[in-house]
Symmetry: C2
Subunit: 422 residues, 2 copies
Amino acid sequence: MTPPLSKRARLMPASPIRKLMPLADEARGRGIHIYHLNIGQPDLETPEPMRARLHALRDKVFAYTPSGGTPEYVSTVQAYYQGLGIPLGLEDIIATTGGSEALLFAFMACANEGDEAIVVEPFYTNYSAFATMAGVTLVPLTSRAEDGFHLPPRAAWDKAITDRTRLVLLCNPSNPTGTVYTPEELRMVAAFCRDHGLFLVADEVYREFVYDGREALSALTLPECEDFVAVVDSQSKRYSACGIRLGCLISRNRDLTESVMKMAQGRLSAPGLAQVVALGARELGPEYTEGITTEYQHRRDVLFEGLSKIPGVFLRKPEGAFYFVARLPVDDAEQFARFLLTDFDLHGATVMVAPAEGFYATPGLGRNEVRIAYVLKSADLEAAVAILAAALPAYCAARGIAPPPPSGEAVRQPDFSVPAES
Amino acid sequence: MTPPLSKRARLMPASPIRKLMPLADEARGRGIHIYHLNIGQPDLETPEPMRARLHALRDKVFAYTPSGGTPEYVSTVQAYYQGLGIPLGLEDIIATTGGSEALLFAFMACANEGDEAIVVEPFYTNYSAFATMAGVTLVPLTSRAEDGFHLPPRAAWDKAITDRTRLVLLCNPSNPTGTVYTPEELRMVAAFCRDHGLFLVADEVYREFVYDGREALSALTLPECEDFVAVVDSQSKRYSACGIRLGCLISRNRDLTESVMKMAQGRLSAPGLAQVVALGARELGPEYTEGITTEYQHRRDVLFEGLSKIPGVFLRKPEGAFYFVARLPVDDAEQFARFLLTDFDLHGATVMVAPAEGFYATPGLGRNEVRIAYVLKSADLEAAVAILAAALPAYCAARGIAPPPPSGEAVRQPDFSVPAES
C-alpha cells in the first residue's frame, strides 16, 4: 500500500512562473530566441568585489557557520542598515537562506496552522508556497491597476479581520506590481496591525529599486513598531546575486528572534560561501546603487513607453522594483502567453511573460493581466515590445477576438498614481 | 498590544548541542583550550578538487539555479549512486539546502500537522526542530546501550502504531549512536512500513563512515520499496563540506518528488556556489573514501580504547558515523558537561561534550549519557580522554557522589553487538 501524501503536499501550488517552461524549452528547440520577461533574474553582473571574495578564499575546510550568520556577515548587514539611518543590534539580524527562508520562518513563527495572513493582491506567487507549508491561509486584499496598485483604504483592511488573523505580509516596493507605498500607506498598515495585535512582515528586498526620486520607507523606521515588525531582506536583487541564497530576517521583537534562532539552529547554518561573497558589498560605494537604479529606471522607461503605445494595453507608470502588472486586450493572458511560445515569432524571436492570475488569491482576478520583469538590456526590451505589439493582434485574429481600438485609450488617461512624497 | 508567537514558535526546542556554548565562550575567555567532542564538524579538509572549483569559477552573474538542482549537480549525485550500484533517474533526485532541508521537506510532504513519526531514540536532536516546524509528533522507540543501540524487535514497532502514524525516520549509520543497522534490521523496518502504509525516510548522510568491514545498506536497495522510501543525503560529512549547505532528497515515488519539487520551487534554488563546489567530487577516486574511513576508524579506536579504560564508563564499540553515546558514572551528564567548562581543566585544557538527554524524546532517558563526536586528530582525542579520566573523579568528589569502581566492570563484558554481516 503506497502511503498517502500530506494534505499540504497535495495543496502545494505549482509555480505559475515556471509552469510554461516546457513550452519555452520546445520553442528554443525549434530555434526560437526567447526574451524572458517572466522571471526576476537580473542580467547585471554580481559586483566584482563580491565575486573576488571567492577567488581570495583560502579556507581549507568549508565548515558550519554560526546559525544566525557569521559575525562578519551580520555586521555587514548592520553597517548597511546604519547607512540607511536604521540602527540595529547584531541580535536583531538572523541570516537566512535567501529571503525565501526568512519568509518561511516568519510564517512559522507568527501564525499557527489554520491561521490567516492578510496580503495585498496581486502578490509574489511564492508567498502561497510558504503559506501552504506553514498551513497558513492567505486572505487577499485586492489592489487595482487603476490605482497604480496602491493600497485599498483602511475600511477594507478592517473588514478582512477574523479571529484567526495573525499577520500582514507587505512587499514594498512590490513584486509584482512595482508599486512603492507612501509613508501614509505604511503608517496606515502599521496602525492597523497595532490596533489588531498583528505582526507586520515587510518584504523589502527591492528597497533600492525606486524611481523618479521616490524612497521606499522601511517598516523598521515606523515609530513604536518594535514589537510587531519583522523585515525580510535579501542579497539577491540588490547585488544581482540571486543564486547564492542569502538573506536575513530582522526584528527588534526579542521573543520572535529567539524563536526564529531556534529554527535557524535546527537547520544549522545559512550557506557559508554566500556569506563570504556578501562581505564584498562593503567595498561598494553609493555609486553602485545609483548605477543600478539609473539602469533600471531607464529600462522601466523603455518598457513603459513602448507598452503604453500598444493599443489596448493598460498600465500605470511603475514606481519601483523591476516588475509591473499590465492589462492586455485579451480574454485569457495565460492562453496568450502560451500562444507566444507555441504559435508566434517575429524574425525568429518571441517573448515569455508570466500570466498574472497566479499572483492573485481571489479566483478569476488577473486573467487578462501579465507580470513583466525588466531585467534585460534596453535593446532587448525594445525588441520584446515590438514582438508584443505584433503578437497581440495576431493572437486576437487567431482566437477570433475583436482587436483592440487602434489608439491606446486607456493609457491616455491622466496618471493619477500617488506621487512619491504624498 | 504585542502579538503572540505561534504555538510552534514557542515549542521550538533549544539545541542541546549549542546551549552550553556560552559556557564554552567563557572558558575560552579564561584562556582554557577546549577539545570539542560535542559537534560533528570534521577537521578534515574539504577536498582540494572541490575547493578549486571556486577559484576556477568565472561566472559574472551568480544567478538562480534550477529549483531541483543544476543538471551538473544532479548528474553528479546520479553518478555517485551509480557507483554504489544504485541506479537512479535524474527526476528521483532533488537538490536541497543541506540534508536539513531534505528532512524538513520529507516531514512536510509525508505527514500532516498532528500526525506522528516513529523514530529510534536516541536520535539526531534536530529531528525535533523539523518535526516541530512541521507540527509532527515524534514517537520514540528506545534503543539501548546494552544492545549497541540496535533496533528493538518488531513487536515494539507494532505497539507504537496509532492511526496518526505516517512515517518512520531512520538514521543509518546512526547519529548519535554510531550504530550501523544490519540488512535484517532494515528489512524488518521496511516490512513494518509496508504493512502499515508508512513512508520510510532514511537519513543516510554517514553512509561512508562504516568500520571493521561493515557496509551501510541504503534503503534505496530494499526490494519493492520504490513507493515508500525517501533518502536524505548530504555533501556535508562525506566531503567535509558542512558549511556549503548542500544535500538532496531522493525517492522513486513520483507523487512525492513532484510535491517536494513544488516546495523547492517555492524557495527558488538550493545554494548555487555549493553546487559548483560539489562537482569537484567527480575527481575523487575510491582512495578518498578509503582514506577518510581509515582515519575515522583509527580515531574511533583511540577514543573507544581510551574511554573503555575509564572506570564506570560504558559503551559498545561504535560501528559507524563519527559519534557514539557513552554512559558515564554520573547522576546528571549535563551537570558534568557544565562542570567541565566551568570548574575543571587539566593543564589549561578541557573537553566539551553533548549531554545525551536532548537526543531522547522519552523524559528522563539519557540523563547519564553523553554524545561524543570524534572529528578531531588522534592526538587531540588522546588528550581529551586524559581530561575525561581526570575530570570524572573530580566531578564525583565535587558533587559528593561515590566514585566509580576502579576497574571498568561494565566494559569488560563481552562485546555482543551485532556483527557486520549478520
